[in-house]
Amino acid sequence: MNSLIIIGLGVIMIAAAIFTIYQKSIVSAIISAGVISLLASVIYLILGSPDVAMTEASIGSALTTVVFLYALNRMRKEKKDDK
């Protein structure tokens, strides 16, 4: 059963990674990069290290994406000021 879950999640993660590279819109790329780290935490859980899973869940899903969004937000505001 575990290898079934791992193969399913692995396919999803690789697809999301390729989507991240070839997506034109940056926000969509950030969303699919968030999917990668969300599912990575489930894989850590199957591999028997819940500590790492908890770290990846809390950091990958919220803080990393938020840091990216804040940086994008700053750049967006500058663009608006120039106009």
Partner: protein, 117 residues
């Protein structure tokens, strides 16, 4: 486990390819974070032992025989801190990107060729 090892390698290669081929700075940083995740998966799956359980010895685990029951705790401990450091370095890189964007109002790495700023 061999499946997760292959998954980690593929993620690492995809991240590396993104870092080398993309022109957009944000995309490069995203590629870095994907490669980071790949490396972490590789390290954790090298410490996995088949049929064993998480290294937290509560009532669900036979404590007297714990050496035969749990997976390797050392890779977990290494990856744990590496993830937090990864967040801090990502934030630092993004701040650099924001500062670069302030100079030339461009995301493309091709516009920054002067090697000084």
């Amino acid at each position: 486990m061999i499946e997760t090892l292959i998954l980690g390698f593929i993620l690492l290669l995809i991240g590396l390819y993104a870092m080398l081929s993309q022109k957009n700075i944000i995309k490069i940083i995203l590629g870095f974070s994907i490669a980071d995740t790949g490396v972490h998966i590789i390290i954790v799956s090298l410490g996995y032992l088949k049929g064993r359980r998480a290294p937290i010895l509560d009532s669900a685990v036979d404590i007297a025989n714990s050496v035969k029951e749990v997976v390797d705790p050392i890779p977990s401990a290494l990856v744990l801190t590496a993830i937090v450091i990864g967040l801090a370095t990502t934030a630092l890189m993004l701040v650099f990107a924001a500062e670069l964007h302030k100079r030339k109002a461009s995301f493309s790495i091709d516009d920054y060729k002067e090697l000084k700023w």
